[in-house]
């Protein structure tokens, strides 16, 4: 029992280092810092094909992250994908903003890119984006390329 104080000190140091390590992981390694408890509003958009878009994928405008994809569901009436995503409240977008599914880098993960339109009226929570462009599907691209090539070849032959 004589070593009580030293023991308590070491255990305290141990727990402090442990919590510090957790904090380090959360802030510096993970995305907790950037994921502040900012207020967001939800917006929907329909896409023909979402490609490899996943929940929690970033929503960027001009390359800056302005929100996250919250939910992706299949609309069985319009046979399209309805993506619900959140935008931080401090960013306002006009009502005719368009959404495109882009890929970061050549083989990177997919995200939603927002391009602002010219409307003076702003988007509110629950609104739906009218203009969308689906993800580029590699097979369609290749078949299009082949089709073009074949058409060129025919034109030359004539």
């Amino acid at each position: 029992m004589m070593k009580r104080k030293a023991l308590d000190l070491w255990v305290g140091v141990f727990v402090a280092i442990g919590l510090g390590a957790l904090l380090f992981l959360a802030l510096k390694v993970g995305n907790l810092a950037s994921f502040s408890a900012a207020e967001t509003y939800l917006v929907k958009a329909n896409f023909d094909n979402i490609g490899g878009l996943k929940k929690r994928a970033p929503v960027k405008s001009a390359g800056v992250v302005v929100g996250r994809v919250e939910d992706i569901v299949f609309d069985s009436e319009a046979y399209e994908a309805t993506v619900t995503f959140s935008i931080e409240r401090r960013y306002e977008f006009p009502k005719d903003t368009s959404a495109k599914i882009l890929t970061s880098g050549l083989l990177g993960e997919q995200y939603i890119g927002l391009a602002a339109g010219g409307d003076t009226a702003k988007l509110k929570g629950g609104d739906k984006l009218k203009i969308t462009q689906s993800a580029v599907v590699l097979e369609n691209l290749i078949s299009q390329f082949m089709f073009n090539k074949a058409a060129d070849g025919n034109k030359d032959n004539k």
């Binding site: 070491w10 280092i17 442990g18």
Partner: protein, 263 residues
């Protein structure tokens, strides 16, 4: 023919006795949890055990974490640079550590260092009749000796795993950025973009808590159940390390399959 039957009999006998033991171990865990009241009223008992299980494991965890991170940095760079993605080194190191290597390797190290020590200590206390003496003094040995060690292990494990991962990331940074020359900015920024707090870090913490429970439960039970002889205690210590390691790897598979199902 009789030899084959004899072999099967022994195999069956071992299977049933294993199941017996599992049942006893489960009841023992329940007893430990029920008698944990004293641990929370007299937290100094747990603190003392956290010192012996956690603090004394610090050195091995920190050093191993550093080395594992450095190796990840080296090997990761070697592979990534072939695809021109060397800037993703931070992502590779961080995700490998936080999701898998941190909880698992820290768990294995904890099992071999602290787990075996706990088993040996409890086994020796049983062999020298200290537990029986305590019982005769109307102090429940499970409440006084077993439960504090159990909770100390459960508390220490996640902290040690976090420290392991943190040291590993630092080791990867040392090798990748300082030694090899990967861009520091992209190292950290890509890492922060890809490592999600809820999905990766929190899951890693959950894993390490589960491992902590498993390892400490096995360590405490083996010690309590050890035959009170020298060979008995040494066999129990070996069993603790082997069983804990297998349990960690099996649980890791189950938890990973459950948590990271196609993300």
């Amino acid at each position: 023919m009789t030899a084959a039957i004899g072999f099967l009999e022994r195999l069956g006998g071992r299977a049933t006795s294993s199941i017996h033991r599992l049942g006893f171990a489960s009841r023992f865990l329940l007893l430990t949890l029920q008698n944990s009241g004293m641990c929370f009223r007299r937290f100094s008992l747990v603190l003392r055990e956290i010192y012996f299980a956690g603090v004394l494991s610090l050195i091995i965890i920190l050093v191993s974490g550093l080395f594992v991170g450095m190796v990840l940095g080296l090997q990761g760079y070697d592979t990534l640079v072939r695809y021109g993605s060397s800037s993703a080194l931070g992502v590779l190191v961080a995700l490998s550590l936080v999701r898998e290597l941190g909880p698992v390797v820290a768990g294995l190290l904890f099992a071999s260092r602290a787990g075996s020590a706990i088993t040996a200590e409890i086994g020796l206390m049983k062999a020298t009749e200290q537990l029986a003496a305590m019982e005769m003094m109307a102090v429940d040995p499970i409440a006084r000796v077993i439960a504090p060690r159990f909770w100390a292990g459960v508390i220490s494990m996640p902290l040690l795993a976090a420290m392991f991962s943190a040291m590993g990331v630092f080791g990867g940074y040392l090798v990748g950025v300082q030694l090899i020359g990967v861009d520091a900015g992209s190292f950290w920024s890509q890492m922060q973009d890809s490592v999600d707090f809820e999905e990766d870090i929190l899951n890693g913490v959950i894993k390490s808590v589960v491992f902590g429970v498993a390892v400490t439960w096995i360590a405490v039970f083996e010690g309590y159940d050890a035959p009170p002889t020298a060979e008995g205690v040494s066999g129990a210590t070996t069993r603790t390390v082997v069983t804990s390691s297998l349990a960690i790897l099996a649980l890791d598979f189950m938890l990973t399959a459950f948590m990271f199902r196609g993300a």
